[in-house]
């Protein structure tokens, strides 16, 4: 069953080879090599997802802590998202990275992050998960500080410290869980010993809260969200696309694993932890949208939007019923494709025009119609207008919120989601409006078609189509999810 290791080890090794290779590869050779590696990794990951049925223990870290891999539906969902976004953003970067330095280093870490994310999806117990979670931080922060400017380095450091602090807060919980769980293997319904839960219940609730906060750092949950709007704009656009679409989702994956597979939803439901978590998530939803609304720089605006949208997902997880959970998982996919597309379009705009502020981009829709059409379609999706992906997920989230046994949040939750959707329209659509309707004083003489090369537009188009498909045929996904969601709740 070594097949499960291949999609993890192959890209990591390929990345290391790229990094240590001393020769200056020609640009063509470099992109071809990286592209091949990306495609092979994607193929390996999908092979592993479909073919591997067994668990796999690699070795024992200490007597009771194995490094252990296991594939379940959650792994499949996150792994597919990872593969698609990494392939799209990877091909996009072959065109985009032309105007950046040190491409080899970028691709090296990009491949490594890919492998580590696969490992994260396949991790079968908490310690393995933690291992890859740390590695993910380490392999992704070089992407943030890639440009090497002082600003980028500070952003990278900020990312690193927020992540390490968060990871340690979680490790704090893991220390105690080692003692009080029969096993740390992810098991639906939780593994916390009944005796420990009843004896020191309030203490374990506190631990659960620490772990929510700790892993929540990666998911940009208030009050530890500040790294996200700094790190995203500093990174090259394709890297921010993967950051926003997949890497921050590692925080979501972590919370699913910890709350539903280690503590168990029943242990948290109805406690102060759930209430606080709901409150934090809703605060983040609202605050993120507000901040995005006020932000003039496009990439930063998108980053704030990520903060807000990720907390939609966290809200769904915190409600703890089937509809909301399904909504969260759908939103993971929908937001992944949508935000990936948005960052890639932002990258395409920066690449062709060099402009970063929304106000400067008048008439951009006339210059780059295809790109801006994709932007508009996925924007509508993020706002939640049918038939795009965002509508279905938000629908499930709202239904779940209304049906949940969560006191005042039953009404407050869906209300805030709605307000935030309005704000989403408020911060995403101005670019479309200005882009396509530049106003009467716009000088059409200077207009020139500046559509980027197919290497950029095809990934954008592909992800846009996917995001719409999710909205059109959500039942395909929902049906496969229903069975196992009911085991978790």
């Amino acid at each position: 069953m070594y097949l499960i290791l291949l999609p993890i080890l192959f890209p990591i090794l390929a990345g290391v080879c790229l990094l240590v290779c001393r020769k200056d590869l020609s640009r063509k050779l470099l992109t071809v090599t990286t592209g091949t590696c990306l495609v092979i990794t994607g193929a390996l990951a999908i092979t592993a997802l479909t073919r591997v049925k067994q668990d796999f223990t690699l070795f024992y870290l200490t007597r009771t802590l194995p490094v252990y891999f296991h594939i379940d539906q959650i792994s499949i969902l996150f792994s597919l998202l990872t593969v698609i976004v990494f392939l799209c953003a990877g091909f996009f970067s072959f065109a985009y990275m032309k105007h950046e330095q040190k491409e080899k280093r970028y691709y090296g870490y990009y491949l490594m992050a890919f492998g580590v994310l696969n490992g994260l999806c396949f991790a079968g117990n908490l310690i393995t998960f933690y291992l890859f979670f740390e590695l993910l931080t380490l392999s992704s922060f070089p992407l943030v500080l890639h440009t090497g400017s002082k600003e980028a380095i500070m952003a990278g450091l900020k990312y690193l410290f927020y992540s390490l602090c968060g990871a340690y807060a979680s490790l704090f919980g893991i220390y105690f869980l080692c003692q009080n769980c029969d096993t740390l293997t992810f098991t639906a319904g939780g593994v916390l010993q009944v005796s420990a839960a009843s004896k020191d219940g309030s203490f374990f609730l506190f631990l659960a809260f620490m772990m929510i906060l700790g892993f929540g750092v990666k998911a940009g949950m208030f009050p530890m969200h500040a790294w996200l709007p700094t790190a995203h704009p500093a990174a090259p656009a394709p890297a921010s696309a993967t950051l926003s679409a997949v890497i921050v989702k590692a925080g979501v994956l972590a919370l699913i694993r910890v709350i539903y597979y280690i503590f168990g939803a029943d242990f948290i439901r109805g406690t102060w932890v759930q209430t606080t978590w709901l409150a934090l998530a809703l605060v983040t939803v609202f605050m993120g949208s507000m901040l995005a609304y006020r932000e003039p720089v496009l990439k930063k605006r998108l980053a704030y939007s990520t903060v807000s949208q990720l907390s939609y997902i966290l809200f769904g997880l915190a409600v703890m019923n089937e509809e909301a959970f399904t909504g969260s998982l759908l939103h993971v996919l929908a937001h992944g494709f949508i935000k990936g597309t948005l960052f890639l379009t932002a990258g395409a705009i920066i690449y062709t025009t060099g402009k970063t502020k929304v106000d400067e981009l008048r008439g951009i829709g006339k210059e780059m119609p295809l790109t801006m059409w994709c932007y508009t379609i996925v924007s509508l999706g993020l706002i939640g207008i049918p038939p795009t992906g965002g509508f279905v997920s938000k629908w499930y989230l709202a239904i779940g919120g209304l049906a949940g046994d969560i006191g005042i949040f039953r009404y407050l939750g869906p209300a805030i989601l709605l307000v935030s959707a309005l704000l989403t329209a408020g911060y995403l659509l101005p670019l479309t409006i200005r882009g396509f309707f530049p106003g009467t004083d716009y000088d059409y003489q200077t207009l020139q078609k500046r559509e980027p090369c197919p290497l950029m537009t095809i990934p954008i188009l592909f992800m846009t189509i996917l995001s719409v498909l999710i909205g059109l045929f959500p039942t395909v996904i929902v049906d496969t999810l229903t069975d196992f969601v009911s085991t978790l709740i």
Binding site: F59, L61, I153, L157, L160, F161
Partner: protein, 497 residues
């Protein structure tokens, strides 16, 4: 008695006499002798370890066949043999890694002196590890101090002389206190052999006599050894001593010499006083508190430091704090974690020192961070090795540092009153570690336009690169397959009783 049982005695004697021989040899020959001795002692310790794992019990070796309580004794168990083997490995690698630098740092006429000191240091470390006699321990503590002082001072720049004087004063204060404690203990019990003292001590405890002198004696010995191993707040001598001596000396001093004293303290705790009696005193609480303070203040000083060698040295203060925190927990698990951390820290700290020299070499010899910008590109091997060492220090999984932190935390969880303090400080210290080590890693990989410094490739630094790789391998081995090592430590501690 099997022939193998002679090996501890052979090891000590071999390194002691080779020191004498080195004094009449020219530098190059002395170097060869030195390497052969370290390797031979390592091999003997390895064989001894295998033998002891086979028999499963420790043995006592009578020097000159005089029975106790008159004769001098050597005692070897799994932990002693393992420690000796590990010390030899680290020492050999540190010597090999710093050898190319020696010509810049020490006058050629003094090279054989350098090797004399190293041999003496090895013999005293081995004696501290193996001895079963308190007075012998004291004698070798002094030999250790003298040779360590020489190692600091042999690089004759103003700063090292000052550092050596400082080290000498602090160290002698430490050994003086140890001697006081020893005298009181001798007065109370009438014995110098560890096992005999232990019997008398347990009798004293049962009868309830001489409680205060007994505690005073234990406290004096502890304080003495704490000063010598640079527990906060007795660490003032450390940054200069580690920061300005030759690179091999720095690596050996930080990873072995201070650990030799700590190992002696462990032996005193288990073999002289008795683990339970020691834990019933308030001394462990004091050690615990100072350990925690060391973990924080050591890191804070390291953050402020602008010199890479001194930064690594200050980080040692924090790591020594971890070890004493483990002692302070007063449980078997805490002790196991501390001993594992001795190994883990020794492997990591020497790696960092040896890697740092590679980085400073390509930065015009400067150790200031500003000059080190981009050094990781100029010397790739040292850059990667330094990064690996830093990750281990921060406690990233797969490296040895993670396992020791895990062991500390698991030990802390079992101790009611100290759990929260230990875990919180462990957390703060991890973050502080991350701050200064990651800052350095980013610094050495920052892009710089300055091309005035040379680049070094594998061809120019074969030995150095191989040593660095070996160090990283030792680190990862400790991190990935920690269980056998932990089992061995547990077995060794069981043999102590």
């Amino acid at each position: 008695m099997d022939f193998v049982c002679n090996f501890p005695f052979f090891s000590i004697l071999l390194s002691l006499f080779s020191g004498t021989i080195c004094s009449i040899l020219p530098g190059r020959a002395a170097k060869v002798v030195n390497r052969i001795v370290i390797a031979a002692v390592g091999v003997m310790s390895g064989i001894l370890l295998v033998y002891l794992l086979g028999t499963g019990e420790s043995f006592v070796y009578w020097m000159g066949h005089f029975p106790a309580p008159w004769g001098n004794e050597i005692r070897a168990g799994v932990l002693e043999a393992g420690m000796a083997l590990f010390f030899c490995i680290i020492m050999y690698l540190s010597m090999a890694g710093g050898a190319h630098k020696l010509f810049d740092e020490v006058e050629e006429s003094k090279h054989n002196l350098y090797y004399i000191l190293i041999n003496l240091l090895l013999s005293s470390l081995l004696a501290l590890v193996y001895t079963n006699d308190m007075f012998t321990a004291y004698v070798f503590v002094e030999i250790n101090t003298i040779s360590a002082c020489g190692l600091i001072m042999i690089r004759q720049v103003g700063r090292t002389i000052e550092a050596a004087v400082r080290y000498m004063i602090m160290s002698l204060l430490g050994s003086g206190l140890l001697l006081f404690g020893l005298c009181i203990m001798y007065d109370l019990t009438g014995h110098l052999l560890m096992s005999n003292i232990k019997e008398s001590v347990s009798v004293l405890i049962q009868t309830g006599e001489y409680q205060i002198p007994l505690i005073v004696s234990v406290a004096l010995m502890c304080v003495g050894l704490c000063i010598k191993s640079a527990l906060f707040p007795f660490h003032a001598w450390l940054p200069d001593a580690y920061g300005y001596s030759t690179v091999s000396s720095a690596a050996i001093l930080s990873s072995l010499v201070s650990k030799g004293y700590i190992f002696l303290l462990i032996k005193i705790i288990y073999r002289v006083i008795g683990f339970d009696i020691f834990n019933n005193t308030r001394i462990i609480d004091v050690l615990f508190v100072f350990g925690l303070m060391g973990m924080i203040f050591g890191s804070l000083s390291a953050i402020k430091e602008n010199d890479i060698r001194r930064m690594i040295a200050f980080s040692s203060v924090a790591q020594i704090g971890y070890i004493y925190m483990g002692f302070g927990m007063g449980t078997q698990a805490g002790m196991v974690a501390s001993i594992f951390h001795i190994l883990s820290h020794a492997a990591t700290k020497s790696l960092l020192f040896i890697a740092a020299i590679g980085l400073t070499e390509v930065s015009g010899g400067s150790r200031k961070f500003i000059d080190l910008t981009g050094a990781g590109y100029r010397n790739k091997w040292a850059g990667v090795a330094f990064t690996a060492g830093s990750l281990s220090m921060v406690g990233v999984p797969l490296f040895s540092g993670f396992i020791s932190k895990l062991l500390f935390a698991q030990a802390a969880v079992q101790v009611e009153g100290k759990m929260l303090a230990a875990l919180i400080v462990l957390g703060i210290s991890t973050v502080l570690n991350a701050i200064y080590f990651m800052k350095t890693v980013i610094r050495i990989y920052a892009v710089t336009g300055d091309t005035s410094y040379p680049c070094i490739t594998f061809k120019d630094m074969k030995v150095h690169a191989v040593v660095l790789v070996l160090f990283v391998i030792v680190n990862i081995l400790l991190g990935v397959s920690s269980q056998p090592v932990v089992n061995m430590i547990e077995q060794g501690l069981a043999m102590f009783a």
